[in-house]
Subunit: 498 residues, 2 copies
Amino acid sequence: MLSAIPSQAAPNQTAHVAMTDLVLPIDMKTSVPGPRSVEMLEQLRKIGSDAGGAVKFCCDFAQSKGNYLVDADGNRMLDLFGHISSIPIGYNHPAMEAAHKSDLMRHISLNRAALGMMPPVDWAEHVQEALMSIAPQDMHKVQTMACGSCANENAFKAAFIAYRAAQRAAEDRQALEFVQEEMSSCMMNEGPGAANDLVILSFEGSFHGRTIGALSATRSKAIHKLDVPALQWPTAPFPRLTYPLEENVAVNAVEEKRCLSKVQKTMEAQHAAGRPVAAVIVEPIQSEGGDFHATAAFFRGLQELCRQYSAAFIVDEVQTGMGASGHMWAFEHWGLESPPDFVTFSKKAQTAGYFYTDRFASNAPYRIFNTWMGDPAKVLLCGVVGSTIKDENLLETVRDAGNALMTAILEGQARYPKAISNVRGLGTLCSFDCTFGGAFRDSVVDELRNRGCIVGACGDTSVRFRPPLICTRAHIEQFSPVFHATLAELVPIHEKTH
Amino acid sequence: MLSAIPSQAAPNQTAHVAMTDLVLPIDMKTSVPGPRSVEMLEQLRKIGSDAGGAVKFCCDFAQSKGNYLVDADGNRMLDLFGHISSIPIGYNHPAMEAAHKSDLMRHISLNRAALGMMPPVDWAEHVQEALMSIAPQDMHKVQTMACGSCANENAFKAAFIAYRAAQRAAEDRQALEFVQEEMSSCMMNEGPGAANDLVILSFEGSFHGRTIGALSATRSKAIHKLDVPALQWPTAPFPRLTYPLEENVAVNAVEEKRCLSKVQKTMEAQHAAGRPVAAVIVEPIQSEGGDFHATAAFFRGLQELCRQYSAAFIVDEVQTGMGASGHMWAFEHWGLESPPDFVTFSKKAQTAGYFYTDRFASNAPYRIFNTWMGDPAKVLLCGVVGSTIKDENLLETVRDAGNALMTAILEGQARYPKAISNVRGLGTLCSFDCTFGGAFRDSVVDELRNRGCIVGACGDTSVRFRPPLICTRAHIEQFSPVFHATLAELVPIHEKTH
């Protein structure tokens, strides 16, 4: 089943093979980082571009293909993390290569437009093709941005602006009928002009980005937040489900009810304190924070609370969107009767931005605005991703690969029930907890990588999978023995010390 | 002198002409926006991608070349605004085209790396070539980011982290020796873990971006800030110089002293209130806010105050950097004895980011971090810009074109002394005020565009110029008669109503 292509085949000889069918041998020449990567990391450190030591190794993209990342030392690894979920359809997908070589891409890449003032010709068509073609049902508008943090920050701003417009309407004022006190106070960062009495509600364990506004909503880990100022915004607990789900329906229902009740109490208290919640932001799966899931009932209840308290309902699909859940957008699993108010995206979309409903349309120029407003070249790439998902039926591939991945992890759990717990997944957004703790988790991630499988860490003790959408059952079958061998090596060591 | 190339020449026939030597006739077929642009704007409005009405017209990049932008209706305009200062070396520069066609660019564009974890091979070399080669003197480190707002926000974060590290050092604690109260309070957005007692000082009239942290430092216009929450950060006045400078040396010295004195009082008051200033951020020219300049003495005094109060000195060169001042960085005009602590960049650099001094090096992973940490493809383009500036001696071109532009504007002022005032410039970063007010200013900008010259508005009554670096004296000579004809038409009308 493996090795459709001999390992010595040069990448260009494999161009005719569909990325889903490309199964190459894992080929490890060194541990990771190998000597060439180590040398490069030192050079990066010297010029302050090593992310404070976060850089792990360097990638040889010229040699990488499909589901396989080749590093600077020539190690070919099965990549189930995809640059923190940023590789949508595998390395060097032919459709992406073709798009890069087009005249359109060249003109758009080399002449960086101020999209909010002077976009390229046919820009509406490109946005339509790339983004509106994959828009969630009943969401008719989209705003592009450069990164996930900016997408969330601007969704916040749009929500604040709309909330204030509603407050003015209640005072028989137009949305843009600012009083002098608003005009002058905002310039001093003070209310009523600055909406310092409006807040964003986010969840414990959430991750929504790292600029100061986005970071104020982020509640993942202390190291992400320490020493940075934050806005006085409230938080509520996100469900911590008990697994397996089938055996814990009642207890999980109680847990979700507890969380929704806390949300309601918080919204009520904020309202009573004159600091109402302008928007609630939530991830379909809390990813960076530890891959925590909730049921459709929880999210439906949350949307209902937003409606009751006139708060915008922002679904942060930066990590979960673009097909990885088996639907184009993970929230489509929830069966909502009406769409969220905002759906933010980035990563696999290559461009960032947000879909939004009509009532949040900008009511004046230069409010939701910046010089670039995203990058049109990335919007074109997003179009390639979207059409490839459709053309290659990748949502079906994701569902199948996700099932295979869940089976592989559950087999690991069956063999090592003390080491592996809380196996969970939606599409290929799968994860498990390392019951022996963070040090064991880290050793699992490192050892898997040294054996040629790249996975990610999240939360305190979790391992997460974020493969590209072209990852198939065959790739998971390649992962499975590596996973079991890794556990066979590490579990006995940690069992002794645990 | 004009028309080195006949107007009917196709762009590809002009490829052998240096961008600086390419002088084409202005060729207007319609007013702007013409019918094709209007149609596209309506399509953009329907899908909510028209920036609330800020979009003015659409660009045909395939037909644009050098200093000339062709719009959707086939109007060829001399572009002296360059997409809000984002076009560095003209449209479709051959060096940019060559870079786009390289294998390296293709691999880097199609496989979007998480630069803080798994950068491409030779990434340190590329950063060295593209960014460290143009780094300000004595600044040895650089951090890439995706946009100017993110560059400023992360410089703020790095400044906060360093300030806290110094506070811990004063308590005999290591920078990363967090106490439990810090760890837990930051998760609630509260101090001491969240640095809510530290502030950024920025200037009245400044513009530093639009994410919530950046926007808290921005003090340009109410419409940029209204209805968005802001951090309780202080502000101080930025000099408002009197022109011409040669005749107002004494009065301007008094004005700058007044502003520095206010800065000092604010820093002292913040310190006394236990809310010290962790960083001061300043633009070399307040651009969006109205193109306000200050002298080298002011900035040297500001750096000295930062030193006295242990505040980081952040110079925001997002709009002024990359050669437009006639130096690579505008602050090089100040004759500082030591570099600023941070120099942020974006726009003409194509990538965003900041240079920083060694003492602000990240002290742990995942503090200054996000998934993409910029875009390596844009870093490669920045390298092309930097090498082209050197190879084509563009700093000299900028100085010469800047002199010509100042002369052209001053001639306009000499003819219409009641209409034009405060003519000012540094390199091609030139501007003037429209004494008859904002409506007159807007009509000047519109009429110039309809006559084939694109300029920008800023502040309440100012017109600013931000041409690409390949703009020459010959291009300015093309602008000059259009400018005079525009004034000849508009001034008499506004003189009557004024």
